[in-house]
């Protein structure tokens, strides 16, 4: 049971990583990051069953931080869109050296 959960978690995580690396839309990137977080959450829960309850406590904490991050992150994305008229990261290269 735990093994299956960890495999699903790994698949989810890799989907998130590949999404972050390949996609250029800020919103999608954002969602992929959330996917990675949740993949980690899943493995936390699964491993908590094996060891002790600390893993479950961490999941709650990760969800809190993910919520906060989503709030801030989406706000940034919105203001980026207002400023540049796009959320395509390939076009946001004002900081290049």
């Amino acid at each position: 049971m735990i093994a299956e959960a960890l495999i699903v978690s790994a698949i989810l995580f890799v989907i998130g990583v590949v999404g972050v690396l390949t996609r250029r839309n800020a919103i999608i990137l954002f969602m992929c990051a959330e996917l990675m977080l949740n993949a980690v959450n899943l493995s936390f829960v699964a491993l908590a069953k094996l060891h002790n309850v600390t893993g479950q406590v961490f999941v709650v904490m990760v969800m809190c931080i993910a919520a906060a991050e989503a709030a801030v992150g989406l706000a940034i994305v919105i203001s980026v869109f207002r400023h540049f008229g796009t959320v395509n990261l390939s076009e946001l290269r004002t900081l290049r050296g």
Binding site: V20, L21, L89, S90, L92, L95, G97
Partner: protein, 708 residues
Amino acid sequence: MMPILFAALQDAAVTAPAPALRAGLTVPLVLLVLLPLLGFVINGAIALAGPDSVLRRGGTDSTTARNPVVTVVGPGVLLASFAVAVSIFLKMRSLGAGAAGPLDAPLVVTFARWMPVGNLAIDWSLQLDQLSILMALVITGIGSLIHLFSIGYMRDDASYARYFAYLNLFVAFMLVLVLGGSYPVMFVGWEGVGLASYLLIGFWFGEKANVEAGKKAFVVNRVGDFGFLVAMFLIWVTTQQLDYVGAHAALGAMAGSPVVLAIALFLFLGCAGKSAQLPLYIWLPDAMAGPTPVSALIHAATMVTAGVYLVARAAPIFAGAPEASLVVTAVGALTAVFAATIALRQWDIKKVLAYSTVSQLGYMFMAVGSGAYTAGVFHLVTHAFFKALLFLGAGSVIHAMHHAYHQTHRRDDPQDLRNMGGLAKFMPATAVAMTLATLAIAGVPPLSGFFSKDEILSSLFARAQGSPLASASLLGIPGHTVLYAAYGLGVLTALLTAVYMTRMLMLTFGGSNRTGEAEQGALHEAPGIMTAPVLVLALLTVIGGWLNLPALIPIGPVGTLDAWLAPVTGASAARLGGTAHLDHNTELLLVGIAVVVGLVGILFGVLRYRAPIADKAHSPEDTGLLANAYRVDGMVDALIVRPFRGLADVILGRGVETGIDRAFSAGGTMLIRTAAFMGEKLQDGDVGKYAWMLAAGALALIAALTLS
């Protein structure tokens, strides 16, 4: 501080003579050296704090520059030092200077270990003996007079305190030079006086020529110092000792060996540099760029005689190498006549005296080279008297000329003989004193120069007739030939000396005045503080010969200096000179020749330079060979300076500048630019690329953690 120091001195290791003697002499010996050093510290501090300080910028009101403390301290420490020297001398005299007396061996006082390296142990030590105290007396005595003279001469100079600081420093180092108990300690003084000389030649460093002259003196002296250093290395390698007593004993036992010859020759190279002998004399005429009292003290009376002192000090080494002694004699004789010819046609009053000094130093080397150490030292002392007098007198003249031109705002050369003439009317005391000195240097009896010069010539002749030195040979030339030739050149030099000195005197004081109508009113005798030392020196010039009267002319105690120096140089003199002795008639003949030559020279000079000449502005430039000193400076420039500069240009200019500089400066920028280019590519603003790098980094980290 001082009581502790003196307490330490009481315990200082002292070798030889009676304990009672050392207790009384150790403290004065240290005071002798420390007093001028103290003066340097005080005057130096005032100079640094004063308005003329090199630490401050901007002009200064020259009338406020003169600090009364400096006026007291500068000459004061010298007078005190002289008093100490006199007290030491009197004490030594009261102990009896004769052979087998308590002063038969030198008093060596060791204060501290200086360089203990392996079995090399060099100490800070002073050596008191008849020769070193004589030199100390001359240095502090004449030094005092010249310090007093300087009060007047430098009165209006903005750098009054700095001047006295340097002068005090010079005397301190000169005393270290003559009182040092070993070659390295002497070398400290040797280099120290070189430094002081450099500082004082370039004293008025506002003008580039003065700085160049100082640099020239320093660089040329380096060549000589190289010889001194090599000689010290050889002494060390050969004997494992560097103090006079030990090294001389060891080297004396090896007399005649090639290494002793090498040591003597290298030592003489050092002497030739410091004492301005061929071919290293070229710095001395340029050294006249310094203030005139400096020329009197350093470049006539004391520092330049250090070479003569060194040969006399190292007499046991030179006595063990007759060939080297012949070299010294030959170089001295050639220098004497060479410089005397140049002096015949110099127009700068100080240049005449400078070449005269070189020539007279040659005389001294003739003497010490032939083993007549007393004669050489005797001439050193009398020369110090009359040449210091001549320079100070010239200083008074230049002072008067300078003020005359200053008052009428005319820009002309106050040192050129063509601008002088008839000055006897304006400055009678100076004229009388300088006439006396001229007669002395020309060898007119019974002035001091007559006795010392005659002793040199007659001892050369006596040694040429038959002595161990005459039996030696130099590059196949028999010793007696060298000595006879030296005697001949000596007589010729005496003639030339009489001519050029009379010429200088006639052009300065005789005839009618050429300074200018308006300037004549401003010409006046120097102030008392300047004429008094000149007159004291005039007295010494007259009576100096009594130091060492020949048996031939017993108008007083005979051979005082001979007896005094016998414990130091007597044995070495005997080794070179044997029992060389002149019979009565020959001696009379030699004296006669010397006197006649001197008088003929003076007569010729008076007749030849009586005619009026034009002043400098109305004279064509003198392009004669003699007026330009055989163009030696040009030759040195073409043969040494310019090739050297060219070489430096190739190595430093092309090699270092374009090679190393480019490698480091241009190469450095290339490196940084490349790194910057790569860094720029790394952060081009593409967030996706950052993400890839992040992932790659994370993977690498995981891989590293799992694999380890």
